[in-house]
């Protein structure tokens, strides 16, 4: 792989991490990270939609008139989200129930439309796919880490494996804990990113 293609893929991890740097897709980040596995699943679901819609939009962008490009991109993204919805309903019903409303809300995840607009519509198919993969993995990584932190502090477990008996600091699996944990993680991330 050429250096440029590698760059496109890896920038989603640190330099342009959607959660900690670009501050996009905050709603699912805060809502679905009550545990590590939930965060991981949400990240992967978003990755699926992101990569596929990037590919399709990159392919059709040359023939889409400028004035209607937003509704067209939205329809494409919504199609993939609905496909994902049906697949999850049929084959992963537990996670479907846990993630609930946030699966269809991937449509309005600023990351997906944002990347379509900023990158996929202006670049080739392979590059767009790589961009989707990179940003998607960066997002998944952020969500999983936040989910892990909230799960460890709030339930005393990691990926369902409990290491204390009873409950942890429950506030972390509730609403305020999400904001606070993310705030501190952001500071940590910036510290690490600055060192690189």
């Amino acid at each position: 792989m050429s250096k440029r293609k590698l760059d496109i893929f890896t920038k989603g991890f640190f330099k342009e991490n959607p959660t900690f740097v670009l501050l996009l897709g905050m709603c699912p980040t805060l809502a679905t990270t009550t545990s590590a596995i939930n965060g991981l699943s949400m990240g992967l679901a978003t990755l699926f939609v992101l990569v596929l819609s990037n590919i399709v939009i990159s392919a059709i962008a040359p023939v889409v008139p400028d004035k209607v490009h937003i509704p067209v991109y939205i329809v494409v993204i919504a199609t993939f989200v609905t496909i994902l919805q049906f697949a999850m309903q049929a084959y992963t019903p537990d996670m479907y129930k846990t993630l609930g409303l946030f699966i269809p809300l991937i449509v309005v995840n600023c990351i997906v439309l944002g990347r379509a607009e900023a990158f996929a519509s202006k670049n080739g198919i392979v590059d767009s796919a790589l961009d989707g993969l990179g940003i998607g993995f960066g997002f998944t990584m952020a969500l999983t880490v936040l989910g892990m932190v909230r799960e460890i502090l709030g339930s005393g477990s990691v990926f369902g494996w409990k290491f204390i008996s009873g409950d942890g600091l429950l506030v972390f699996i509730m609403a305020p804990g999400a904001f606070i944990a993310l705030g501190y993680l952001m500071v940590l991330f910036n510290k690490i990113a600055k060192k690189n």
């Binding site: 023939v63 496909i83 709030g154």
Partner: protein
Amino acid sequence: MAAKSNLLNMALCLTSVCLVCSALLGGMYALTAEPIAKTNADILRASVNAVLPEGGELSEAVPVEVGGQASEYYISKSADGTPAAYAIKSTTAGFGGPLTVMVGITPDGKVYNTSVLSHAETPGLGAKCTEDEHFMTQFKGFDPSQKILTVKKDGGDVDAITASTITSRAYSLAVKNAVDAFKTIKGE
């Protein structure tokens, strides 16, 4: 690099994209309709079986009114066709939203077991209704003719979850409504 934005192009583009996507979704919907129905049936079956004694053939859902709301129940029939137990779905208002409980009742009117289908209770407090062993097992074999289905605070015989009186009240009410519905079913 995009095509020209005249009315014909825009209309054509939007319409064709919508048509293609709708067709794709229609296809996907048809493809997954059966697996989804099967998965839902499996989940329901599991939740009903959790509250009924082993064995027995499950009937289809039968509509019934529980606690003033439309709901349904299932009959588990033994080999000779006589009803061995009833599983009644009961929904009440919990602390954070609707609380739905599946209540298994044997023909003698005693509660065999209960299981939560869905809830919106606070983690660590009301959500314990699905984890607290002591709370859940007290409903096993509960005889409504001998004991009262309300929390001890309200003069009944149900031990509430610590600091979750409202959830416990809702749960007890759900079971009580199911028992009342059972009486109506039996009475028919």
